[in-house]
């Protein structure tokens, strides 16, 4: 992994990879959403609102996956002082926060016709809202520390501590009485019918590729900003 710690080597891989991830992600996401909306059957209990699953579930997984990525990158940053680890953690934050927000909003919209309410303060919804606020805190912390010019070790520690919330979100429907249904997809299998499961996985793949492209774009932006800053400093020294 240390081979990719060199920003120049990283950019040689990231530059051609970004458009591939982006366009493949857009194609799969659009294809899965069209498939899900127009070519899946109406569900017996939830009716047509089941189609919201094709945006809600990928957003939830990527919101949680994003913070897991921040926590791993933060550990790598603090332990091995990997030069790109902090950059990647900061690059994940805004896409992660956006996906967490999309999960909360689409979940709320889905809740109204199925539960009869926009919001309930149960374990799953509250812990997901906490994740969104953790993202906002992380973004504020990393922006504040990058303005001061340091490598945002405080944000890295915050990223690791915040990861405690990820298993809480995952287990919340088991630990507490919840309006939210229990996990439909586990490592052991799925209770979702194939008619929904296949387009759902395509949708998850598409959104994940888009997420990857977003992180690469934001990492490239951060590295270009660092290059500009370094040159300006050198010019000022002359």
């Amino acid at each position: 992994m240390h081979r990719f710690a060199n920003p120049a080597r990283f950019l040689r891989i990231a530059k051609p990879l970004t458009p591939w991830l982006l366009w493949l992600g857009i194609a799969l996401t659009l294809g899965a959403c069209l498939w899900g909306v127009f070519f899946t059957p109406t569900e017996r209990l939830m009716g047509d609102t089941v189609k919201i699953i094709f945006v809600h579930v990928p957003a939830a997984w990527l919101g949680m996956g994003g913070w897991t990525g921040i926590a791993i990158a933060s550990i790598v940053q603090l332990v091995w002082r990997h030069p790109l680890a902090g950059v990647s953690a900061r690059a994940i934050a805004v896409p992660g926060a956006t996906f967490a927000a999309i999960c909360l909003i689409t979940g709320s919209i889905w809740g109204r016709p199925t539960w009869g309410t926009w919001w309930v303060w149960d374990g799953r919804l509250t812990s997901m809202l906490v994740l969104f606020f953790l993202y906002l805190g992380y973004i504020a912390l990393s922006n504040a520390s990058s303005e001061k010019g340091d490598t945002s070790r405080v944000a890295a520690v915050f990223g690791i501590i915040g990861a405690v919330n990820i298993p809480i979100i995952n287990r919340s429907v088991i630990w507490w009485e919840s309006q939210h249904q229990k996990a439909s997809i586990t490592l052991g299998g799925s209770s979702i019918d194939q008619a929904y499961l296949v387009p759902l996985f395509v949708s998850v793949a598409g959104f994940s590729l888009l997420f990857g492209a977003l992180v690469l774009m934001r990492m490239r932006t951060a590295l270009a900003e660092m290059r500009i800053e370094a040159r300006m400093r050198r010019m000022a020294d002359y």
Binding site: V37, T106, I109, L214, R218, T221, R227, R231
Partner: protein
């Protein structure tokens, strides 16, 4: 209760959110990389 408005709203929120994120990230990347290249050529 008709379901269509809820489905449309969910997909619209997702579409707007992702489009904003992709466009802002892409434009910011292009602008910053162009500035970095310009500065390197100036030196």
């Amino acid at each position: 209760m008709p379901h269509a408005p809820f489905i449309i709203a969910s997909f619209a929120v997702t579409g707007v959110g992702i489009t904003w994120l992709v466009l802002s990230s892409y434009l910011s990347m292009r602008r910053t990389e162009a500035s970095a290249d310009e500065l390197r050529q100036q030196q």
